[in-house]
């Protein structure tokens, strides 16, 4: 199908779809006047029932914790898929793309200017602050906005900062360590095990069976805090694996050049 035909057909049916969307949206409750019962009920009871001040994370890890289990395993599966797709194969045939990359790489490393000393000096304190902040966000998931997923992403940016500060060897040593895969799997499995533990006590999966503690403490809200921490571990490891898998060819080239 030629470009013009494609555009022609799209400009008939696309605006029709957009028009339908807007027409349907006219039937929505007026913006700013949320009236559904679900959110209000949870806002009223979450603090008293679960001693968690952050209602969003109470929903994520307790009321609808099963969805988050599925979501965490989507992340796990995607990382497994990325490692599958970008795996190094023995005896893979050279294509012309590979050859072109080889030629480009030798030029690239010569053209790259050295990083300024300011950046190299600032990067280490920046990494330090990132890691501390990441741990803070992860541990306070049940109290303030944040939690496991957000903390994991923040913590995963710390080694990337190191890589950007041109310390490729340190980056490789951190992220290619085989224990990262194990940590990721342990993080994912621990969510499942925290869910299974209530089964042994005779209540359904993912029931919040740990002591609720005092509202406002770091160690409160039962399994919410624990699940949040495990998810943080898993997400950190997952993103490190993804970063390493994408960069591995470039890194090997850069290290070989040194």
């Amino acid at each position: 199908m030629s470009e013009r035909v494609r555009l022609g057909i799209f400009f008939i049916f696309g605006p029709l779809f957009l028009g339908l969307y807007c027409y349907a949206a006219m039937g929505l409750p007026q913006w700013g006047h949320y009236r559904g019962p679900y959110g209000d009920v949870i806002s009223r009871v979450a603090v008293f029932e679960r001693h968690a001040t952050d209602a969003v994370n109470a929903i994520n890890y307790d009321y609808r914790g099963f969805d988050t289990l599925g979501e965490e395993f989507i992340l796990f599966t995607a990382v497994l898929g990325i490692m599958l797709l970008l795996r190094r194969e023995e005896g893979a045939a050279d294509t012309k793309a590979d050859a072109r990359k080889q030629g480009e790489k030798s030029n690239e490393v010569e053209d790259n200017p050295a990083l300024s000393t300011t950046i190299q000096a600032v990067s280490l304190p920046a990494v330090f602050v990132t890691v501390i902040f990441g741990f803070y966000i992860g541990l306070h998931g049940q109290l303030t906005p944040g939690g496991g997923f957000q903390a994991g992403v923040i913590l995963a940016t710390a080694p990337i900062l190191i890589y950007l500060a041109q310390n490729t060897k340190a980056f490789k040593r951190i992220t290619s360590h085989p224990v990262i895969e194990v940590i990721e799997a342990i993080g994912a499995a621990s969510y499942g095990l925290i869910g299974i533990a209530p089964l042994l006590l005779g209540v359904p999966l993912l029931t919040n069976v740990l002591p609720r503690g005092v509202t406002g403490d770091v160690f409160s809200a039962g399994t919410i805090a624990l699940i949040s921490a495990c998810v943080g571990i898993e997400v950190t490891a997952a993103f490190l694996l993804v970063a390493y898998t994408y960069l591995q060819e470039i890194i090997s080239g850069e290290i070989a050049e040194d």
């Binding site: 995607a78 797709l85 299974i196």
Partner: protein, 614 residues
């Protein structure tokens, strides 16, 4: 445990969650140990996990036969009519589909024992996650949970589709698959958001309760979006383009799962959401809805059949036949009512097993003869007698030959159509069955019997598949041949085993009754329903049509195979193979075209719903 006693409480609180959690945990263990354990151990753990899943799902099916199991995660029971948590509603249909998923996964993992390339052992954990995703999709009673499991299933599927990374074709197929199905998932999510805004609920039963008799444009557009999203997964025209590409490039065990259960789950989701939420919402307009869905189903069935006959790559051929049969199943859903639902379920079960057997035989051909392209397979299969028998039986199953479950499904659906004064539906079944069976028979005649001349080689068949098993092993082991035997035996058992028909009728009856569903979700009790067993079902005319379809299929295949020896007028098969070029060029392999057709589809269905069903 007697048939009327429920599970003891501590088991009732544990068992329904196991079919999801156990495969996921096993997948994490396998992901860690994949480089350290030898291949047979990892395969064995995978097969063991899916067998365990099968056992647990069978237990749930046994329990659900007497009373629906309602399981509240996190112990969050509903407060009044407001549902706070996520629920699993396990009735016989859900549990049955979960068992089917577990069975096909076990057979697929058994088939891939030791020799199929497993991508350094990533294959087995991904299959287990795929199984968990499918099981959760069947069992859930919450809309957003349905979306999450849809995405889990899809992510594992994208990764499995792109497993063979040595050739560029699998990557293109996986890309097209991923883009179209992700757009579908987000259409579903948009629809869920619209429904949430007017009801304030995410639980299917609560939404069904709140949306009664409401069919304003918002609800209709949400229905259209959700329908289009799930019909994309179900590969209905015009959302079907990704299926042929994905099947042509995936490893055989993965194709078995795609065609056998993943695509059918899209149709199941449509059926479940329509019976619980949308049909009660549309009450007076359900006849118009029936017409719209019948049109799409019929077009899909005929288009799929025609494209199937025109294909020369075995897996793409079988993929188009899946599209055709999914169109037939959509017509069964369109008819509404317990009898049609029973026809849908029977046809689904029989088609899944039959198609799985055909794909497994294609895998055996790929393993023994190192090719999947019809021109290259010509006359190569003369020594594979047993495989040829299985292929022939599979073809008969596609045609709806009496004795196969497809014939029974067609009988039930035709009876439901007669009751609604739609007499042409059985002709559609006949044509679709003839075309797809003829294609399979044509391949069989050329490969196993060596009849006729070498077929014209075309573009699609030239892009052949690399063999997926290692070189140097030229025998068909027991684990290659037992799975297809079991599948064919299952497809026959659906029709011939006594008691299966009654169970399916009861299950369909429970599924179609929305007030009973609401009552069960909110109170946990299952109401007894009037039985359907006293319906007068004549399967004889369907059996007759099945025999006609098989004979016509054989004749069509022969006119194609022996095209040089018969007069020009009679070369019907050859005419069908060649001049369909215009139709085939629409399937261009370009992702922009596929998404364009999806846009055309959602705009058309959206406009039709909003205009006709208001």
């Amino acid at each position: 445990m007697s048939i009327s006693a429920p599970l003891p409480q501590h088991l009732a609180n544990a068992v329904p969650a196991l079919p999801i959690v156990l495969p996921l945990l096993t997948a994490t263990v396998l992901a860690v140990l994949r480089k350290h354990l030898p291949r047979p151990v990892i395969d064995a753990i995978g097969i063991g996990a899916s067998l365990l899943n099968l056992v647990v799902c069978s237990l749930l099916l046994y329990e659900a036969n007497t009373q629906t199991v309602v399981y509240w995660f996190g112990n969050w029971y509903p407060r009044g009519s407001i549902v706070l948590g996520i629920t699993f509603v396990i009735d016989p249909v859900s549990a049955g589909l979960a068992c089917l998923a577990a069975t096909l996964t076990t057979l697929a993992l058994l088939f891939s024992w030791r020799f199929v390339d497993a991508g350094s052992n990533h294959f087995q954990p991904l299959m287990l996650v795929f199984l968990a995703g499918m099981t959760g999709f069947c069992l859930t009673g919450d809309l957003f949970n349905l979306f999450v499991f849809f995405e889990l299933m899809s992510t594992a599927a994208f990764a499995l589709c792109g497993l063979k990374t040595r050739e560029p074709a699998p990557l293109q197929g996986a890309f097209n698959f991923a883009v179209t199905n992700t757009i579908a998932a987000f259409m579903v999510l948009t629809g869920i958001a619209f429904l949430y805004s007017v009801t304030g609920a995410l639980n299917m039963a609560q939404i069904g309760l709140l949306l009664a008799h409401r069919h304003d444009p918002l609800v209709l557009f949400a229905c259209a979006l959700i329908t289009c999203g799930f019909l994309t997964k179900a590969a209905i025209v015009p959302f079907h383009f990704w299926l042929a590409d994905a099947h042509a490039v995936s490893p055989t065990p993965v194709c078995v799962l795609f065609s056998g259960i993943m695509v059918e789950l899209g149709l199941y989701a449509v059926l479940r959401l329509y019976t619980v939420i949308f049909l009660p919402a549309m009450d007076t307009k359900s006849t118009s809805l029936r017409t719209i869905l019948l049109v799409f189903g019929t077009v899909t069935a005929l288009y799929g059949g025609a494209m199937c006959y025109a294909e020369h790559h075995i897996k793409r051929l079988l993929a188009f036949s899946t599209i055709s049969h999914c169109g037939l199943m959509l017509t069964a859903i369109a008819l509404q009512g317990p009898l049609a639902a029973a026809g849908f379920l029977t046809y689904l079960l029989a088609h899944a097993l039959d198609k799985a057997a055909l794909f497994l035989v294609a895998g055996i051909l790929l393993h023994r003869l190192r090719t999947a392209s019809e021109p290259a397979l010509f006359n190569q299969g003369k020594k594979l007698g047993f495989t040829a028998t299985l292929w022939l039986l599979g073809a008969l199953g596609l045609a709806g030959f009496p004795g196969f479950g497809t014939s029974l499904g067609e009988a039930l659906t035709s009876n439901a159509a007669e009751a609604a004064n739609i007499r042409w539906l059985s002709i559609v079944f006949l044509i679709s069955g003839t075309l797809t069976a003829a294609a399979v028979l044509r391949v069989g005649f050329r490969t196993f019997l060596g009849w006729g001349t070498k077929p014209i080689s075309d573009r699609a068949a030239q892009i052949d598949e690399l063999p997926e098993t290692q070189d140097g092993d030229d025998t068909t082991f027991w684990y290659h041949i037992v799975p297809p035997i079991l599948c064919i035996a299952g497809a026959i058992a659906v029709a011939l085993l006594p008691g299966v028909r009654e169970h399916i009728l009861n299950a369909a009856n429970r599924l179609s009754n929305q007030p009973a569903y609401l009552h069960t979700v909110y109170t946990g009790e299952t109401q007894p329903l009037p039985s359907l067993a006293n319906l007068d079902l004549s399967a004889r005319s369907a059996a007759f049509r099945g025999v006609i379809a098989a004979l016509l299929a054989a004749a069509l295949a022969l006119t194609s195979v022996f095209r040089s020896r018969i007069p020009r007028i009679l070369r019907i098969g050859a005419y069908l193979e060649g001049p369909l070029l215009a139709l085939r060029s629409i399937q261009s392999g370009h992702v922009g075209d596929y998404v364009l057709w999806m846009t055309v589809g959602i705009a058309t269905i959206g406009t039709t719903f909003v205009v006709m069903l208001r």
